[in-house]
Subunit: 342 residues, 3 copies
C-alpha cells in the first residue's frame, strides 16, 4: 500500500473514470464495474480488494496466482492466470499503463525528485524530550523525532519522516519517505529514501517509473557516510535490525536485508535483492537484483552474486561462485598458462 | 574556448610576452609574431586563429593536422605535422608549458578547488518566475535560474551557473562551471563541475593540470544522489538529452554521453570516454578513457570496456569482451577445472 | 596514544579498579599491581609503561614481542610471547575486553556517530589572518584554521580539528578528529574522520569497536569530492605529502599512504593497508587490508591487491597478479575456448 503520509491521499476515484483517464477505456469496455471505488495501487502480494496491481512479466506469476487485488493490469500471456473474482485488464503495455495510474492517483510522485521540504511544507516537527538539532537543519512538517536523538548540522529531514529514540543522524544527510527504529546511526552525507533507478522503455524514451515506496531502517541499523538507499518503487526497502552498512554502499529499491548483516564499504545491491539474516558482504561486493542470498552466507570482497544461493554459501568472483570452485578454476588456468597439463 | 564566465577574462596579452613569462622565450626566439594578441587556450579541434593549443601525444595527431589554432605547443616528434600557417612552438615538455600558459591567462584556475561562491562573489541571482529556493541555499553572483525550478535546501550554486526551467535540484548538492537545460533533475549531494583528476609527472611531483572546462547537462537529464561529474579539463563534459545516471556514478572530465543512455548506480567513465546514443551500462560497470562505445551498446554490470566497440555491442568482463566470448571462455575454464577435455 | 583533544581525557583510574569494572577481576586475581595508574590505551608498537594494549590475533605477534606497554590483554595462545616486565592479562575474548576498556576510559567513543559539534560544543575557532569562512559553516570549539585558508559553504569542522595554511576546504564537507597540513585541498562532500567499519562478533551481535584514532592529511594532499576517509581505530589513518585521491575514493581505518601517490576516482583501501611512496592506483582499483604495496607500484584500474607486493610491481586482476601473468593467462584461456592447444 502506498503510504499516504509520503505521497498524498489517493483521489476518490471510480475505477471506470480512472481507466478512462489513463487510456484504458477500450480495454475495459466489456466490463461491468458497478461503480467500484479505487483504493490505491499495491503489489500483487499485499493488494486488497479495492487496489489495483500489476502482472507484467514472468516473475510476477507466483504472486499473481495468489493475489487478492481487486484489479490487475495483466500482459496478454498471463491473462488466464488471474484468479477468479479479480478483474483482469489485459493491456499491450501493462507496466506503462500502471505508471499512468500511479501518476494519476499520486500526483506528487511525478513532480519532484524527492520529497524534500520546501516553502509551505515546513512545520514544527514533533519532538520528544532531549532531542538535539544541529545548525541549519531543515525539518519537514509532520516529522517525528524520538527521545535523546541527535540530528547533525545541515541535515534535511523530509515531511512525515519518523525517527526513533537514541538515534544519531550525521551532518549533511537527507532523509525522506523513511521510518527509523530506535538506536539507528546514519552517517554524514547519507541519502536515505530518494527515488531509485527505475525506467521503462530503456534507452528509448527512458520513461520514469514513479517511486512511491518507503525505506524502513530497523532498530540498531548503522549506515555509513555517503551511503545511498533507494526507497521502494512500490512497497519498502528494508534494512533489518542490527545490520551495518559501510561507507558509500548503494542499496537498490525494494531490497530487503535481514538482521545482523554486515555490508562493508562500497558494497551494492541491485533492486529487489533479498539478503537473509547474518549475511556478510566484503568491500565492493554485492548482488544483482531479484535474488535471495541465504542466511549466514559470505560474498567476498569485489565479488557479486548473479543468482540466488542457499544458506551458508561462500562466494567469490564475477559472477560469484562457490569459493572452492573459484580457486580451483584459477589454479587450473594458471597451470594451463604455464603449459602444464595437470 | 575557455568560458570566461567561469574563469575570468584572459588578460590582454601579446604572444611574445606570454611566451617569455612562461619560460618559452628561447623556443620562440627565431619567430616573428608581429605583435600577435593571444585570444585564449583551446583544443586543437575548436581553436581559432588567436588561440594557443597543445599537441603532446600521439592521440592528438588527427586533430593537429586539421587545426585552425594560431599557435600550437608541440612535442618534437610531431613538429612536421603542424599545418602551414600555424605557429609551432616546439617544447621539451609541451603539456607542462601549456599548464603554465593556462595559469598565466586564467589565474582563477590555479587558486581554488572549485568555483564556490564566497565573500564578495555573492550576488542576486537572476530568477525567472516561480522559482523555489530552499533554506540555506548559497548562490553565486550571475547565476541564472529558470521558471518553476526548485532548489533543495543547503545546496550551493556557483557563480554564473545557468539552470533551465522546470528543473529539480536536490539538497546538499554543489554545482559550478555548469550549464543545465530544462527539466533536469539533480540528486542530493551530487557534485557537478568540480576540477577533475588531471595531473602531470605522475607519482613524482603530481603537478595539477588546471581544469578550465564546463559541464553541460542537456534537457531531461536525471543525475542520481552523490554522483560526481568532473568539468572538462579544456572543453566540456557533456551528458546528452534524456540520459539518466544512477546514484554514486562517476563521470570523468571531457566524457561525452549521448542521448537516452542509462547508467545504473555506481557506474563510471574515465576521462574522455564517448558514449553514443542509447548506451546502457549496468551497475558498477564502466569504461576506460579515450574510447568510443557505439550506439545501442550494452555494458553489463561490473564490466568495463577497455577499448572502443562498435554499435550494438554487448559486453561482459574485465576487460570487457563480446558477451558470447565471455561465456564461452568461462565454460571452457569450468570444463578444464573439472578435468574434461570437451 | 589516544588524542584527548578528540576523545576526552581518560579518567584517572587505578588498573585494579578498571579491570574490575570491565569484568576482568578474576583474570587479574593473582596479580599485584601496586596501585598502578592507567595512562590510556595504545597499540603494541607505541604504548608506554602506563598504557594498556591488545594482542588478539596472530598478526599482533611481531609487535607483541617488542612492546613497551605496561599491560597487554592477550589471547591464551600468545601468553608466552609477552615480554618480561609487561603485565599480561590472559582473556578468553581479549578484543571484546579491550573494547570495554576503551568505552570505560573514553566515554565519548561509544555515544556518538562522530564528533560533530552540537549545542554546547560550539566555540570561537582560532583563526589566523585572512581566513574565509563560507555561509552556514559550523565550527566546533577549539578548532584551528591557518592563514589564507578557505572553508566552503555548509561545511562542518569538528571540535579541535586543526587545518593548516593555504588550504581549500570544499562545500558540504565534514571534518572531525583530523589534523591537516598546509596547502591541503578537500573536495565537496568529503567525509574525513568518521568512525570506520570495525565490528566484533561478525554477523552475530555486530558489537561496535570504538574508533578512537585520527586522520592525518599531510601537506599538499588533494582529496576529491564525496571521498570517505575513516579515522584510525586506534592510531592514525595517514595520507602522505602530495598524495592525490580522486572522487568517491574510500580509505579504511589505519591505512597509511606514502608521498606522491595517485589514487584515481572510486579507488579503495581496506583497513590497515600500507602504500609506500609513489604508488598509482587506477580507477576503481584498490587493495585488501593489512598488506604493503611497495614504492612505485601500479595497481591498474578495477584491479585489487589481496596480498603484499614488492616495490615496482605492476598489478592487474582480481585477485591482482603481475600484469604479465594476467595477460598470459587470459591469452591461454582464449586459445582454450577456441579449441587451440597452443
Amino acid at each position: 500500500m502506498v503510504d499516504t503520509r509520503f505521497f498524498g491521499e489517493a483521489k476518490e476515484t471510480k475505477l471506470v473514470d480512472l481507466l478512462g483517464a489513463v487510456g484504458l477505456a477500450a480495454e475495459a469496455a466489456d466490463m461491468h464495474f458497478q461503480d467500484m471505488d479505487v483504493g490505491g495501487v499495491d503489489s500483487l502480494e499485499t493488494a486488497q480488494s479495492q487496489d489495483i496491481s500489476l502482472a507484467a512479466q514472468k516473475h510476477y506469476l507466483p504472486d499473481l496466482k495468489e493475489t487478492k487485488a481487486g484489479v490487475v493490469l495483466v500482459a496478454k500471456e498471463f491473462k488466464d492466470d488471474v484468479p477468479s473474482g479479480v478483474i483482469a485488464i489485459t493491456c499491450a503495455e501493462p507496466h506503462a499503463s500502471f505508471v499512468k495510474i500511479i501518476e494519476y492517483l499520486y500526483p506528487d510522485s511525478q513532480h519532484r525528485l524527492a520529497v524534500t521540504p520546501h516553502v509551505g511544507e515546513l512545520g514544527d516537527p514533533v519532538l520528544e524530550d532531549n532531542v538535539t538539532i544541529g545548525q541549519n537543519v531543515v525539518i519537514g512538517s509532520g516529522a517525528q523525532i524520538g527521545e535523546n536523538t541527535i540530528i547533525g548540522p545541515n541535515t534535511i529531514i523530509g515531511p512525515n519522516v519518523c525517527i526513533g529514540r537514541n538515534c544519531v543522524i550525521g551532518a549533511n544527510a537527507t532523509l525522506e519517505c523513511a521510518l527509523l527504529g530506535d538506536d539507528v546511526v546514519i552517517g554524514h552525507g547519507a541519502r536515505i529514501g530518494f527515488a531509485g533507478f527505475g525506467w521503462l522503455d530503456h534507452a528509448k524514451t527512458n520513461k520514469k517509473i514513479p517511486q512511491v515506496g518507503r525505506v524502513i531502517l530497523q532498530a540498531q541499523t548503522d549506515i555509513g557516510p555517503n551511503v545511498c538507499i533507494d526507497r521502494g518503487a512500490l512497497g519498502d526497502t528494508i534494512i533489518g535490525e542490527n545490520t551495518k552498512l559501510g561507507a558509500l554502499t548503494m542499496i537498490g529499491h525494494n531490497s530487503v536485508i535481514g538482521r545482523n548483516c554486515l555490508l562493508a564499504p562500497v558494497a551494492g545491491l541491485a533492486g529487489g535483492a533479498i539478503l537473509e539474516d547474518s549475511v556478510l558482504i566484503g568491500a565492493n561486493g554485492g548482488t544483482a537484483g531479484h535474488l535471495t542470498i541465504g542466511a549466514g552466507s559470505i560474498i567476498f570482497a569485489r565479488s557479486s552474486a548473479s543468482k540466488s544461493w542457499p544458506e551458508g554459501s561462500k562466494l567469490v568472483g564475477n559472477p560469484a561462485q562457490d569459493m572452492k570452485d573459484f580457486w580451483r578454476e584459477l589454479a587450473a588456468l594458471r597451470r594451463l598458462a604455464k603449459g602444464k597439463t595437470k
